[in-house]
């Protein structure tokens, strides 16, 4: 099963990475052998539970007690664009 440039285009939308047409070609070329290699897992037989975590940890939680917050200045300190204490983003639509 080969991944097509159309597939890559869809994934690049999901991942929000802008790719030019030539990049779409390049990525599908380099990604295909990797996916083929990943496909070797198909030969693994036997059904076991999926290991989301390697440790059997449960119920790790904290009490509802406030901790230190950042100042507005600190919160905004790394943003390229701010306005009136807000982060400024481009229009949505």
């Amino acid at each position: 099963m080969m991944i097509t440039t159309n597939d890559i285009e869809h994934i690049s939308w999901l991942a929000h990475i802008w790719l030019t047409d030539s990049e779409l070609e390049e990525y599908s070329e380099k990604i295909n052998p990797i996916l083929e290699y990943f496909g070797t897992l198909d030969e693994v037989e036997g059904d076991v539970d999926a290991a989301h975590h390697v440790l059997d940890l449960y119920n790790v939680w904290r009490d509802d007690v406030p901790s230190e917050m950042l100042s507005q200045e600190e919160a905004l300190s790394n943003a390229k664009e701010i306005k009136d204490g807000y982060f400024k983003a481009a229009r949505i639509l």
Partner: protein, 469 residues
């Protein structure tokens, strides 16, 4: 010939010349070497830290920090354009623990972009040279930390290990690197590549120093829900008599250098001489580890790296509406390998492919973990080569991603299972160091560090220096 610095030597130097002078010595060496091991130097701040250092187990001792560990007030880039200029307003837990012990942060070390690589060639800030041969890679992704140690620039360094990123460069640069048990060291402040696999790991020129650094940074942290309440005894050494060692046959696979194979077997026999017993063991799911590892790592990465949209921090492309701006920011800010892994990870999680790739990889992880559990019922420790060959040439593999992935064959199973492993120098090929990997049971760092220490004491590989004969 380069002088290396151990903690003990450094402390003696500080006693006679002062902590500030130790910082100057580091700065000079870094400049002299010019291996590109650092992205950001923190000399001014380090001098002030050195002057104020008044106690602790690492009082005044300089340390290099991999640039994916958040340092308050010091630029933290993950070697990516997308985080260039980002100054964290908070410290990682490990940084707080280091400061508590008086350590002095010299700077932030170069690495593969977002720790995605085995050669430190994917850094936005350029490749790092291997001190043993400047035409070779230092290994990755913690290549800057390893090169800084091997080049005598610092006595201690922190790296991070998602699929071998501490052990590989330790092996290629002839230093010591520990990948702790998953949950032993807090990940709070470590910029995630693949959360379920990675740990911050100590790197040093001797096992004793790595053990001490591990002791400083390890321990439960209520800010990391996957951190575990464990105490570690890293008192060295230990009597090796009667220790049971397993040698997994799958770790001597196709493509391995015959010299690497030989020196690792020599190492096994040195343990025999120390009184240990060994047997070959089979870990049948090893060959599927690499694919499972990369699928899990890329899937998690595709989500972890979604936050880099240019709005709150980092590179920002101002173009069109919000979603376009995000996409262009990410296109401009991420390098080629990072984009490839995000795309592959998004694909592996996407509708229709989730079960084939992501879920299947998690099931294989269970099987790999069971291999280890079975082995540790019979053996106290496993021995294997860290890398199948010594450092390769700069530019040799970077064009072919899959061939680069395949070099991680012996390190990724350890991360999949979550067990600890340490790499120590065990020989040379063409004047390039070879690393021996000692793999331990869950939270049994003690055994592998003690064994590594004994091995170090009975050999002299760690005494050889780059540039020496």
């Amino acid at each position: 010939m380069m002088t290396w610095q151990s903690i003990e030597e450094t402390k003696r130097f500080i006693e006679t010349d002062g902590a500030a002078e130790a910082v100057h010595r580091c700065a000079e060496r870094i400049k002299q070497n010019d291996f590109n091991s650092f992205i950001t130097l923190n000399i001014k701040d380090a001098l002030s830290m050195a002057e104020h250092a008044s106690g602790g187990r690492l009082c005044g001792v300089p340390i290099a920090i991999k640039d994916n560990i958040s340092t308050r007030g010091i630029q933290t880039t993950c070697a990516s354009k997308i985080l260039t200029g980002y100054i964290p307003p908070y410290n990682a837990t490990v940084i707080e623990r280091l400061k508590r012990e008086g350590a002095v942060i010299i700077g932030k070390t170069n690495m593969d972009e977002f720790a995605m690589g085995t050669s430190t060639e994917t850094s936005y800030y350029g490749a790092v040279e291997n001190p043993w041969n400047v035409g070779c890679v230092p290994g990755g992704s913690s290549g800057g930390s390893a090169a800084a140690l091997a080049g005598g620039e610092v006595p201690l360094a922190l790296g991070s290990d998602t699929g071998g990123s501490v052990r590989c460069p330790a092996s290629f640069c002839g230093v010591v690197g520990l990948k702790p048990t998953y949950g032993a060291v807090s990940r709070y402040g470590l910029i995630s590549y693949a959360n379920s696999l990675e740990q911050i790991g100590p790197m040093a020129t001797t096992v004793a120093d790595a053990a001490l650094l591990f002791n400083v940074v390890a321990g439960y942290d209520n800010r990391d829900s996957t951190s575990v309440k464990k105490q570690f005894d890293t008192t060295l050494p230990l009597d090796m008599k009667g220790m049971k060692i397993g040698v997994p046959e799958e770790y001597f696979g196709e493509g391995m250098s015959s010299i690497v194979e030989k020196v690792v077997w020599d190492a096994v026999h040195s343990f025999e001489d120390l009184g240990a017993e060994y047997k070959e063991v089979s870990m049948p799911h090893t060959k599927y580890s690499l694919a499972a590892y990369y699928i899990i790592a890329m899937s998690e990465a595709s989500s972890n790296l979604a936050r880099f949209d240019g709005l709150r921090y980092g590179h920002h492309a101002e173009e069109g509406a919000c979603h376009t701006s995000f996409s262009k920011t990410r296109a401009e800010g991420f390098g080629d390998e990072v984009k490839r892994r995000i795309l592959l990870g998004s694909y592996a999680l996407s509708a229709g492919y989730h079960d084939k790739y992501y879920l299947k990889a998690l099931k294989v992880r269970t099987m790999v973990k069971k291999d280890f559990e079975a082995a540790f019922k019979m053996y106290d420790m496993l021995l294997a080569p860290t890398m199948p060959y010594p450092a390769f040439k700069l530019g040799e593999k970077i064009k072919d991603p899959l061939s680069l992935y395949l070099t991680d064959v012996n390190t990724v199973p350890i991360n999949l299972a979550g067990v600890p492993a340490v790499s120590v120098p065990c020989g040379f090929e063409n004047k390039l160091p070879i690393g021996l990997q000692l793999i331990g049971n869950f939270f049994d760092e003690t055994t592998i560090l003690q064994a590594a220490h004994n091995f170090e004491n009975s050999t002299d590989f760690h005494n050889r220096r780059p540039g020496g004969e």
